[in-house]
């Protein structure tokens, strides 16, 4: 049976005003996140994935605005609720971990004080109890000697350890949604695996829904249940993970999948280097300039986002044509 999604994003459009022009880095984004599931968002830098995440918690900078759309969490539109309400949601219901753990911590405070601050902001408990909670969650991370870690400063820990501490802090509040924005990009391969393992644990033990943003398809293959591929601000394809890897439909997804490095020494063809997104709001396929399969029908493009099979959405006019007729 299908569960009610815990978070739904409908028609999200974001605009950035610069002194010269207004650009639209996120357009028509729709997705739903279920509890206990991982939705992966893949895309290259500049495809709008981080802005999408930031908008969920209303953390966008001043010159960036949500034009229209809605973000529904437990019958509440996060875009319309008061500043007070959104503060309660942040951390407690929807938590976020960032790409670079070195920057996310305050360098002059110990790990312990980060823990206590976070826990006591949301729960009415004493410092002593908060410290106990901190030890308890840090033990679950499998970090060696958790009590000693609590007394240390962020710069004394490695990036991988810090990222695991970060996850432990978010875990201590048992959020129902975790937004992980490139959680392993700054880490080396062995650390990456440990962080992924911990995210997996979080999902299984606490039934947390995870929004996993990354450009690494290996990470997606490892963790995600469903994948949305973003390009030029649009979700160009969305499907369950096995279907996406086995039957990619959109040309961009195919290019992405073909360009994975592996342990075989196969030569990989590189695609044309230039990525120039159309900045104005014209309804043109964002991948048109780089697409090798494009033909005349692609130029007059209506960017319909169509369900090609059950749960498999594609935004490509050629595929609609070949299937529709």
């Amino acid at each position: 049976m299908r569960h009610q999604p815990i978070l739904t994003v409908n028609n999200l459009n974001i605009s950035v005003s610069t002194p010269l022009e207004v650009v639209h880095p996120v357009r028509d984004v729709n997705f739903a996140l279920q509890s206990g599931k991982v939705l992966g968002i893949v895309g290259e830098s500049g495809s709008g994935k981080t802005l999408t995440c930031m908008s969920l918690l209303r953390l966008l900078p001043e010159n960036v605005k949500v034009e229209f759309g809605s973000i529904n969490y437990r019958n509440q539109n996060l875009l319309e609720c008061s500043a007070e309400d959104i503060r309660k949601v942040r951390g407690n219901d929807i938590a976020m971990i960032m790409q670079n753990p070195m920057i996310a911590f305050n360098p002059v405070r110990t790990i312990e004080s980060h823990f206590i601050e976070t826990i006591r902001t949301h729960l009415p408990i004493t410092k002593r109890l908060a410290r106990k909670v901190a030890v308890e969650y840090l033990e679950k991370t499998d970090l060696p000697n958790p009590k000693a870690v609590l007394k240390q400063y962020p710069f004394q820990l490695s990036g991988g350890m810090l990222q695991r501490v970060m996850i432990a802090i978010t875990m201590s509040l048992k959020p129902s949604i975790l937004i992980a924005d490139e959680p392993t990009t700054a880490l080396d391969a062995t650390n990456q695996l440990q962080v992924l393992k911990q995210l997996d644990k979080l999902k299984k033990e606490y039934n947390t829904g995870i929004l996993l943003v990354t450009h690494d398809l290996g990470v997606i293959a490892q963790l995600a249940d469903e994948v949305a591929v973003m390009y030029g601000g649009y979700i160009v394809e969305k499907a369950p993970v096995l279907k996406l890897f086995n039957q990619p439909m959109h040309p961009y997804t195919r290019v992405l999948l073909e360009s994975r490095l592996g342990l075989t020494r196969k030569k990989i063809q590189s695609v044309s280097p230039l990525s120039t997104y159309s900045k104005n709001n014209d309804k043109k396929c964002p991948f048109l300039d780089r697409c090798e399969e494009a033909n005349h029908s692609c130029t007059s493009y209506n960017l319909e986002y169509r369900e090609y099979e059950k749960d498999h959405f594609v935004r490509c006019v050629k595929i609609h044509e070949s299937v529709g007729n």
Binding site: A221, S259, L261
Partner: protein, 269 residues
């Protein structure tokens, strides 16, 4: 004659955690010997903190080893006067991971690329521009880009500019210190393909330093694995990658994520 010979290189750093603590030394590189031939790409893999970047800096002459010799083109790099060193450095270039901090933000990229040419060659400005344009073309950038500033480029484009600068003097050896680690998958492939093509064209040698075994596997001809300042394993034939036997190498191998969903690697470890 081998292009580069390292003999028993040692380097340690001093550090202390607090004002009151006695300073202690950390051996970043312990007794490393290596040889690199012309036209070969040697991969150096290891976890963060294994001393691979320090080794790169020693070869470049940016760090002085406590012990040992670096022989580049038959001369001991750390035993030369500045004039001889300058002469030798024509043949030795580097590309770093952080492409943004590797270029001067106030110079146009044309000027950045021309810098090594100005250091070593006396060219007329027309000749210089011609060479810069040629280099830009080689790395897949456009003519118009010559007057742009670094902030107008993406990471992948800037990394290509750094590579253009590195090949400007037609060096013999380029040290690539995590040169593709910060880039997206698609851009990574482009850069790796570009490097492979340039290697063929100019008979370049690379020292490819990375923690990513997949990228190393794609480009390198042979491989050493470093751990805590030591070389723990060497591999001369990349086809035998799966046969790496040292526990450190095995850990690196096993942390490569499988390319398809369905294998839960997390549970094994």
């Amino acid at each position: 004659m081998s292009l580069l010979v390292l003999k028993n290189i040692k380097k340690s750093f001093f550090l202390k955690n607090s004002v009151f603590e006695k300073r202690r030394s950390i051996e970043a590189v312990k007794d490393i010997s290596l040889t690199l031939e012309q036209g070969v790409c040697l991969g150096i893999v290891g976890e963060s903190g294994s001393g691979k970047s320090t080794l790169g800096k020693i070869i470049l002459g940016l760090e002085k080893p406590d012990q040992g010799e670096v022989c580049f083109l038959g001369k001991n790099l750390h035993n030369l006067n500045s004039k001889e060193l300058k002469e030798l450095r024509q043949n030795l270039q580097v590309v770093f991971q952080d492409c943004y901090s590797a270029v001067n933000p106030r110079l146009t990229i044309g000027e950045s690329i021309a810098e090594p040419l100005r250091n070593y060659k006396r060219l007329s400005s027309a000749e210089e521009e011609k060479q810069v344009l040629e280099l830009l073309k080689k790395v897949g950038l456009r003519r118009e880009d010559i007057h742009k500033y670094p902030s107008q480029f993406s990471g992948g484009q800037l990394q290509r500019i750094n590579i253009a600068r590195a090949i400007a003097l037609k060096p013999k050896l380029i040290i690539l210190d995590e040169a593709v680690s910060a880039l997206d998958a698609l851009v990574q492939i482009q850069i790796l393909n570009l490097l492979a093509q340039l290697k063929e064209e100019f008979q370049l040698s690379y020292l490819f330093i990375s923690h990513d075994l997949q990228a190393v596997n794609y480009i390198a001809d042979c491989l050493v694995v470093m751990h805590q300042g030591e070389i723990v394993e060497r591999l001369d034939d990349m086809e035998q990658l799966e046969q790496l036997a040292n526990p450190v190498s095995k850990k690196l191998l096993s942390s490569v994520l499988p390319p398809f969903p369905g294998y839960m690697k997390c549970e094994e470890i």
